[in-house]
């Protein structure tokens, strides 16, 4: 390091600085220590490389092939075929809608749980809110189908009480997909916002009130800005999970309008066009990665 420092001639014989041990049976030399670490870490690394990285490479390779020869035709197809890129715009629209609606519904709920519910009941209240999600995801989407079907519970209630003359089509629409997603993500966002609210120091509120802020002002100027991280984390998770989800749009959305995951599955199932499916998957990955980088960048700005 700095030229003025006297080197300790015994340094090579001393245990590695960063290794924390003193046990007689542990290896003393740097080499043996390194081997030990690699031995512990390599199974997990191997698995990740073999079954995560390699598949990606395979997909990447496959996505630029088509009947012999390397080609970008699969990607070109996505950008030129309207029904293909419309799947992406549909996905983005639906995901954006779901994110906004879920935030609007979840925030007051999280606030009520954190502020109005007595401390000792909060854990139970949260548990209760999470409980229905212990059903299988497939089953849950199916249940929404039941609820929204033409002769289902909702239509039944609406026609029965005379609000509507005839049942309205709710299932197999974009609205149904949105409802199905919102159902789950309201719960997720409630959790992230609740956690954020709970860890705010009560001193902030007291100080603001002491300086003359009324309850609404305290909320707008102090609480809301300080809970934005909780909202952002939840919103990010919502985006990433929703845009890659196949089950909900497939069961509830019907086949009138396709979202990206459905488009991808279509290539595998009926058409067996793996190269195209690979290209579409990587495009979807690309969109998610952009969102991920944007979120990470925002977090860094917030911290700094």
């Amino acid at each position: 390091m700095s030229s003025g420092v006297k080197l300790n001639p015994l340094a090579p014989l001393l245990p590695h600085h960063a290794a924390h041990d003193g046990s007689p049976s542990s290896p003393r030399s740097r080499g043996a220590r390194t081997v030990q670490q690699w031995a512990l870490v390599s199974p997990a690394l191997f698995w990740t490389i073999a079954f995560f990285v390699l598949p990606f490479l395979a997909m990447g390779f496959l996505s630029v092939t088509s009947e012999g020869g390397l080609t970008l035709s699969n990607y070109a197809q996505f950008f030129t075929n309207p029904s293909y890129y419309r799947a992406m715009t549909n996905s983005l629209e639906v995901t954006a809608m779901v994110t906004v609606i879920s935030i609007l519904l979840a925030y007051p709920f999280a606030w009520i749980l954190a502020e109005q519910v007595p401390e000792r009941w909060q854990r139970l209240a949260l548990l209760l809110a999470v409980l229905p999600f212990w059903t299988s995801y497939v089953v849950r989407s199916y249940s929404w189908l039941l609820v929204l079907a033409e002769q289902g519970v909702v239509n039944d209630a609406l026609t029965g009480t005379g609000i509507l003359a005839e049942p309205v089509q709710l299932a197999n629409t974009r609205a149904a997909t949105v409802i199905g997603f919102v159902h789950f993500f309201v719960m997720l966002l409630t959790l992230t916002i609740f956690a954020n609210l709970k860890q705010l120091s009560p001193s902030y509120r007291k100080a603001a009130a002491d300086l003359g802020a009324g309850p609404l002002q305290v909320f707008i100027h102090v609480i809301l800005p300080l809970t934005i991280p909780g909202i952002m984390v939840g919103a990010f998770l919502t985006f990433v999970l929703a845009i890659g989800d196949y089950i909900t749009p497939q069961i509830l959305g019907g086949n009138n309008e396709l979202l990206m995951p459905q488009l991808i599955m279509l290539q595998i199932g009926r058409r067996g066009d793996f190269p195209l499916a690979s290209a579409l998957s990587l495009i979807l990955m690309g969109v998610v990665t952009i969102a991920y980088i944007a979120c990470a960048r925002w977090l860094k700005i917030e911290r700094a």
Binding site: S203, Y204, A207, D210, G212, A213, G214, L226
Partner: protein
């Protein structure tokens, strides 16, 4: 005599079954620096919370500027509190923090900025306006918290152990600055602490609290030289305590205790030195007599004294402090 700025009359407070404050009455003069001194659990912070409006006392009344404020919320009284953890809004700049109270009072942006910059100057942070709290050191954050409170010109400024989070050197420095700021601004400060040196350094009015009651109050010089109770004698500085044959207790401050008979002093007993603690400018000597009586003395650092030495604790008659119990 100037009319009291703050008057607390017969304040009692209970948390569940525990009585935290018992019939406390206190008057604060305008422009004064009052320190509430006491150990943890003594009720001093509770008293401050009641003054600040964060608690309504179980019994008693609080008058500020002659008005009954007992039931008023914090925003409704002419007090502002500086919290132990400063509670600076992390998402606002220093300027935003300091201007917050003014904003709540409807002061226009330009005026807010002017007054915020002015008060930041007073607390010694002229360059901090645009910075964020996390960019500042502990001492600087403490000053911003102070500025935020002072800018709204409260009648009384309440400080809840404001220097607790700072290291010794910084604490001493901030003590000087707090005193200087208070004298410059002229607002009455009420400062809670458990550190008796801090109390002695800052207060012109020292209030010693223990177990929900006021043990003693007055100028720190008097409280130190002539403590009214046994607790005060041992909490506010150290003392050697001697029973006074049924008439209470006698206390002697360590700096008044000599370790040998000198002309003009009375002999208090014979003892052996059990501890010699070097403290830089002086040595703290603990000596114990045959029947277990402890003597605490302060001697110059150069004094030649060792464990096991025989000493004759003595003091002048006028240095004896008579305590009731």
């Amino acid at each position: 005599m100037t009319k009291a700025l703050v008057e607390m009359k017969n304040i009692s407070h209970r948390f569940g079954a525990a009585e935290v404050l018992a019939d406390v009455s206190l008057a604060i003069a305008p422009g004064s620096y009052t320190v509430l001194l006491g150990p943890s659990g003594s009720g001093k912070t509770t008293l401050l919370s009641i003054l600040g409006g964060f608690l309504v006392p179980s019994q008693g009344k609080v008058f500020i500027l002659g008005q009954d404020c007992t039931m008023l919320p914090p925003a409704g009284r002419p007090t502002v509190t500086v919290f132990q953890d400063y509670a600076l809004f992390p998402h606002m700049s220093v300027g935003g923090n300091v201007g917050f109270g003014l904003r709540m009072r409807g002061v226009a942006r330009g005026e807010r900025e002017r007054r915020a910059r002015e008060v930041l100057d007073v607390v010694g942070l002229p360059e901090a306006y645009g910075k964020r709290p996390h960019q500042l050191s502990g001492g600087q954050r403490q000053r911003v918290a102070l500025a935020r409170a002072l800018v709204v010109e409260p009648a009384v400024l309440l400080l809840d152990e404001p220097l607790g989070a700072l290291d010794l050197k910084l604490r001493r420095q901030m003590q000087e600055e707090l005193k200087a700021i208070q004298q410059r601004v002229g607002t009455a400060f009420i400062h809670v602490t458990h550190d008796q040196e801090e109390a002695m350094a800052l207060a012109d009015h020292c209030v010693v609290i223990n177990r929900g009651r006021i043990e003693d109050e007055g100028p720190p010089e008097r409280v130190y030289a002539r403590p009214a109770t046994r607790f005060t004698a041992t909490f506010m500085g150290e003392s050697t305590l001697l029973p006074n044959a049924g008439k209470g207790t006698l206390a002697i401050r360590p700096e008044h205790l000599r370790l040998s008979r000198e002309p003009g002093t009375m002999r208090l007993g014979e003892a052996r030195v059990t501890a010699v603690i070097f403290q830089g400018g002086f040595k703290r000597i603990v000596a114990e007599s045959m029947d277990g009586q402890l003597f605490i003395a302060k001697v110059p650092a150069e004094t030649n004294i060792a464990l096991g030495d025989k000493v004759t604790p003595s003091c002048r008659a006028e240095d004896l402090i008579h305590l009731e119990r």
